[in-house]
């Protein structure tokens, strides 16, 4: 097992359990890069600090996290006032609604502000964000519109919870009463949303920290009833087992080990969301892994939002980083083998092989 990843897991365990961290001889740049790819660099920096082992390389992550938290808190207020004044029915989702559970709210890093709007109000909401708040449309898809402004703030406006999954629509249909999901539905949404990311090759450590905080607060019977309706019980059980393995350093089962590989695989793409159909042929798989979409690349290389013509350069940068990184042998092995069988076994064991792969 990768030593850096091993230590990262120990740091996460220390953070979640309030334990004492061992000091290890680890390449700190590797640890920073890995934690950054897995969206937990601010947690790692914070934990190292509390264990008298702080490294200044994490300053940037922590300040960025605080910047994002402050920014989104402010924009939430602005957007809430605007929407309320115009009778828009909306709910905030994901990161901005989860930070309150963390030890310090700013530690829960978010890259954008996610809002789901009642479908009848969507066009009006979009108009308000564009014209009153001077946002521009960056990307359109079936279920959402991504916007940003000239201050570098990103907002994702979602039309409804799931465009083509009636079971999910049914579960969340009454959730527009308040402007945030209650704790049980936050948990259900988290698991459902993670399932969609998972089959596209995405699994970050940050998800498990979210899971840790939410699962302590939910009505387990209520949640299980709903997850059963969504065919997500197996998936939920597997993720919770992995979290237990992470927390207690117990012997992992086969699924836990496959999830370890899955997380590392996501990290090795330098944080690019790996939207690749795992059942595609090897050539398509390699091409799609090597050249992700513009949206994914702009998440990793923000300068692309301002200078989209630099996309070829960003591909070269990413490929170069892969060639020089210490994990390149792992990356190439994984790319060439595709680990078809292992991942198919994993997806089948998690019960989500037929899950909706459509746009998130």
């Amino acid at each position: 097992m990768d030593n850096t990843f091993d230590y990262l897991k120990e740091i996460i365990r220390t953070y979640l359990n309030d334990d004492k961290l061992s000091i290890r001889n680890i390449n700190i740049k590797d640890l920073y890069d890995l934690s950054n790819s897995l969206n937990v660099s601010s947690i790692v920096g914070y934990t190292l600090k509390n264990n008298n082992n702080y490294q200044n390389i994490f300053d940037k992550s922590l300040y960025k996290s605080m910047n994002r938290y402050t920014l989104f808190s402010n924009y939430k207020n602005i957007i809430s006032k605007l929407f309320s004044k115009n009778n828009i029915r909306y709910i905030y989702l994901k990161g901005s609604t989860l930070s309150c559970y963390y030890k310090e709210e700013y530690l829960r890093y978010s890259s954008d502000l996610d809002i789901v709007v009642y479908k009848e109000d969507f066009d009006k909401a979009l108009d308000l964000i564009v014209n009153d708040l001077s946002f521009s449309i960056k990307h359109r898809s079936l279920n959402e519109i991504s916007l940003n402004n000239n201050k570098g703030v990103d907002v994702d406006l979602h039309k409804q919870f799931e465009l083509d999954n009636p079971a999910v629509e049914d579960v969340f249909k009454d959730c527009f009463k308040d402007n945030e999901l209650d704790i049980n539905y936050k948990y259900i949404y988290l698991i459902n949303h993670e399932a969609k990311h998972f089959i596209l090759g995405q699994l970050s450590m940050r998800f498990f920290i979210d899971l840790f905080y939410l699962r302590k607060l939910i009505d387990r019977n209520l949640v299980d009833n709903v997850l059963d309706k969504l065919n997500l019980i197996k998936f939920d059980n597997a993720l919770n087992h992995y979290l237990d393995y992470l927390l207690k350093d117990i012997e992992p089962n086969d699924i836990d080990l496959l999830l370890d590989d899955y997380i590392l695989s996501y990290a090795n793409d330098f944080g690019v969301n790996n939207r690749v159909n795992l059942s595609s042929n090897k050539f398509s798989y390699i091409i799609n892994r090597s050249f992700p979409s513009f949206k994914e690349m702009s998440g990793v290389f923000p300068y692309l939002n301002k200078y989209p013509f630099l996309l070829p350069w960003s591909y070269l940068t990413r490929i170069f980083k892969t060639l020089i990184c210490k994990r390149r042998k792992y990356v190439f092995n994984e790319l060439s083998s595709k680990n078809d069988h292992k991942m198919s076994v994993l997806i089948d064991n998690l019960g989500i092989s037929s899950y909706n792969k459509s746009d998130i």
Binding site: M66, N67, T70, L71, G152
Partner: protein, 86 residues
Amino acid sequence: MKINNNYELKFVLDSYILINNLENSNSIIKLNETSKDIFELVANNKNIDEIVSILLDKYDTDKETLIKDVNDFINDMLIKGIFING
């Protein structure tokens, strides 16, 4: 003189930093203990004389140096638009 509402003072690990709450920015302004005190006193509507007087009680320094430090910091904040006159 008052604080521009777009700026907030935050505490991260053991540092005070100023964050622009309207803009995603990679540049962070870190404040030392004295600067943080001056910032908070301005936020509490203290004028320069009052700020100097309060800080003289707190810090073991001579008045001239303190007046210079306070003025330098306030001018810097005015130039950056973090403090606003009026």
